[in-house]
C-alpha cells in the first residue's frame, strides 16, 4: 500500500484546461474522496493518477516514485470503472483472474487467489457464470474482485456506485467501506454525491472548475468550508448565505446586519463590502426574543425533522428543525443563529474570512 502525492498537476485538452495546478496528498491506507460537480476535473485527476491520461505538467508520486509519465500497466494500481468494464467475453472467474494472468502467475496459484477473493466478496458460487446476466450488485463485486485480487498499491474508483439502483447503493457503499477497513488499502474514490463522500471518506478533496477548493476530513470541510462553493456543495440543504453590505475588522466577535448584531467566532481577518453570513440549516433557530424576523414560506416534512423555508430581509434561508415543532406558512418568527458555527464570506472572492474557529482547518487545508 502506498502514499500518493499530487504536485501542481495540470491537464489541458487543447485550449480547455480540465485541471489547474492541483496539489494534495493521500496518506497510506486512506479512503480518499474526490468530490465535485460534473466537469470539475475530478475524473481527469483520477485518470492521471491511474495513467489513463498523461498530465500536461506536474508530478504524481505513488509510494515515493514519480509515475506521471508511466503507462497504466506499470503503476501497479487497480481501477474500478463506473460501468464496471467487465470483459464481456469471459466468465466471472476469468475476469477476476485476468490481472494475475498478465503477471504470469502459475495456474494453481491463480485459482487459489481467485477462490480467496470470491470468498471475501461472497461470489464463490457464480465464478463459472458469464458476466452478461449478472445483477448490478454482482457485477460490482466482480469488478471489485478483479481490483483486489492482485494486491495493488492503490485502488482507484470512478463513481463505482453510480450505475446501481438506490437500494443497492446503500448496501454496496457499506460493503466497500468494510472491504477497505479490512484491507486497509489506499483508495481514491470519485463521486459527485456529497453525502456518499461524507459517509465513506476519511478525507475529501472538493474540486470545482479544475481547481482544488478545499481538502480535509469530512467534518472539517462541512463545518468550516473555505469557500462559498464548498459551503454550498456540501450538506442538503446547503449552507445558507445571508448577504449584506458591511464591514468586519480584526478581533471582532459580532457583525451588524440589518439593524441586528449577530455573534460570530472572533474574526482574524478584516473585510469590507459585500459579505455573507454563512449558517447551516440546523443552526437556524426560532427565538421570540430575537428582533431579526422572517416569514415562513414553506415547510417540508421529513419524518424526524422538517425543512422550513424562511424569507428574511437578506434573502431566503432554510432551517432544519425537529418535526415536532409546530410551524405554519405565514408565521413571522424571530430568528437566531448558533454563533459558534457561523462563517463569514467575502462575496466578491467567495472565500471564507479567517476566524478563531476556522483558522486551524483553513490554514492547513
Amino acid at each position: 500500500m502506498a502514499q500518493i502525492m499530487i504536485r501542481n498537476v495540470r491537464k489541458d485538452f487543447g485550449s480547455f484546461t480540465a485541471v489547474k495546478s492541483s496539489t494534495f496528498t493521500i496518506e497510506d491506507g486512506e479512503f480518499f474522496m474526490l468530490l465535485g460537480p460534473s466537469g470539475c476535473g475530478k475524473t481527469t485527476t483520477l485518470r492521471m493518477m491511474a495513467g489513463l491520461e498523461l498530465p500536461t505538467s506536474g508530478e504524481i508520486y505513488i509510494d515515493g516514485e514519480e509515475v506521471g509519465m508511466k503507462p497504466a500497466s506499470q503503476r501497479d494500481i487497480a481501477f474500478v470503472f463506473q460501468m464496471f468494464a467487465l470483459y464481456p467475453h469471459m466468465n466471472v472467474g476469468k475476469n477476476i483472474s485476468y490481472p494475475l494472468v498478465s503477471q504470469g502467475m502459475p495456474r494453481a496459484q491463480v485459482r487459489k487467489k481467485v477462490a480467496e477473493v470470491a470468498e471475501i466478496l461472497g461470489i464463490a458460487d457464480i465464478l463459472n457464470r458469464p458476466v452478461g446476466g449478472l445483477s448490478g450488485g454482482d457485477r460490482q463485486r466482480v469488478a471489485l474482485g478483479r481490483a483486489i485480487v492482485r494486491d495493488p498499491k492503490a485502488f482507484f474508483m470512478d463513481e463505482p456506485l453510480g450505475a446501481l439502483d438506490a437500494e443497492f447503493r446503500e448496501r454496496m457503499s457499506e460493503e466497500l467501506r468494510a472491504l477497505h477497513d479490512r484491507m486497509n488499502a489506499t483508495t481514491v474514490y470519485v463521486t459527485h454525491d456529497q453525502l456518499e463522500a461524507m459517509q465513506m471518506g476519511d478525507k475529501i478533496v472538493v474540486m470545482n472548475h479544475g481547481v482544488v477548493e478545499q481538502f480535509g476530513r469530512p467534518q472539517e470541510i462541512y463545518d468550516w468550508p473555505s469557500t462559498m462553493f464548498v459551503a454550498g456543495f456540501l450538506g442538503s440543504p446547503a449552507m445558507n448565505f445571508l448577504e449584506f453590505d458591511g464591514q468586519l475588522s480584526m478581533n471582532r466577535n459580532s457583525v451588524h446586519m440589518n439593524g441586528t448584531d449577530f455573534q460570530i467566532p472572533t474574526s482574524l481577518e478584516g473585510a469590507r463590502g459585500r459579505l455573507a453570513l454563512g449558517v447551516r440549516p440546523e443552526h437556524v433557530r426560532f427565538s421570540d426574543s430575537s428582533g431579526y424576523k422572517g416569514e415562513v414560506l414553506a415547510t417540508e416534512y421529513l419524518g424526524t425533522t422538517q425543512i422550513v423555508t424562511i424569507a428574511t430581509p437578506n434573502g431566503s434561508i432554510k432551517s432544519r428543525m425537529s418535526a415536532a415543532q409546530p410551524v405554519s406558512v405565514g408565521d413571522m418568527p424571530g430568528l437566531e443563529f448558533d454563533s459558534r458555527t457561523i462563517s463569514i464570506f467575502n462575496v466578491e472572492t467567495g472565500r471564507a474570512l479567517l476566524s478563531q474557529a476556522n483558522q486551524e482547518v483553513l490554514r492547513h487545508g
Partner: protein, 312 residues
Amino acid sequence: MSFSVTEPSPRQKWIAGILVVGYALITMLPLLWIVATGFKSSADSIAYPPKILFEPTVEGYVNVFTTQTRLSNEMAQEPRENLPWYEQLVREKGNTIVGQSRYTERFFNSVIIGFGSTFFAIVLGTAAAYAFSRFKVPLKDDLLFFILSTRMMPPIAVAIPIFLMFRNLGLNDTHAGMILLYTAINLSLAVWLINGFIDEIPIEYEEAALIDGYTRFQAFYKVVLPQAATGIASTAIFCLIFAWNEYALAVLLTSGTAQTAPPFIPTIIGVGGQDWPAVAAGATIFLVPVMVFTILLRKHLLRGITFGAVRK
C-alpha cells in the same frame, strides 16, 4: 374474449409460412435451374419443354474440369472395365480425357485472389479502423470521408488508368496485382464498417486491460478483437462477395495466369459447341465457396447486421 393484437393465430402463421416459402421458391428458381442443369445430360439440358424429371449425370462436372479429344478407333476397342469412372463416362460419348481443363486453374485463381484480398482488406482495415476509433487523428472526419469517397466511383470508371498503371508496373494478369486491386477497393468498406463496430465497444474495456497490466497491443487483440469479431466477420463476407463476383476489372486486367472464374465461365459456352451442363456445373461450383464461408459465419453475420440496433 381472449384476443391478442400482437400474437398471430396458428392459421395466420401457416398462411404466412406458405407465403414466405412460396416467395423463396420463386426467387430461387433460377438458382435451382442452374443446379439442376449441371446434373443433366447435354440432350436433356436443351430439351423442350424443359425436363423437370431427368436422369442425373455428372457429365457436366467431368466436362468442366477436363479437356477431351475424340477417341481414335483403336482406343475405342479397348476394354473399359479397369478405367476410372470418369474416363468410362467420357468414352461412352466417344471422347477421352487428355488433361485438366483451365476451369480448375481459374477457380483456384478466384480462391487465391478472393480470399487473399479479403484477408489483407480485413487486416489493414481493422488496424486503420482501430486507429480512427481510438486515437486523435488530425482531420479524422475528412479522412474518413475521403476513404469512403474512393468507393463512390464505379470501379469501371478507373479501369483504363488502372490498366495502364498495371502494365507499367508489370502487374497485368498477376495474382499480386489482382489482390492489390481488390484489397484497395474493399479497404474503404472495411475501414468504415469496422470503425463503426469498434466505436461501439466501450473504451473502458481496453483501459481495464491496460490497468490489469497488459500492453496496448495485448489489450487490442485480447479484448477489442474478440468484441469486434462479429463486425469483422460480417465485413469479411462483404469483402469476399465483392472480390469473388467482380467481373469488369477481371475481364480487363486478367487473361491467362491470373484470370478468375467470372470472366472465364462465359467462355466455356464457346468451346466445342454449347455445353450447357458444363457451364451450369461451373457456375454451381463457383457458388460453393462463398456459400460455405457465409454459412460458417452466418451467426456473426446476423448479429453484425443488427449490431447497434438495440441498446445494450
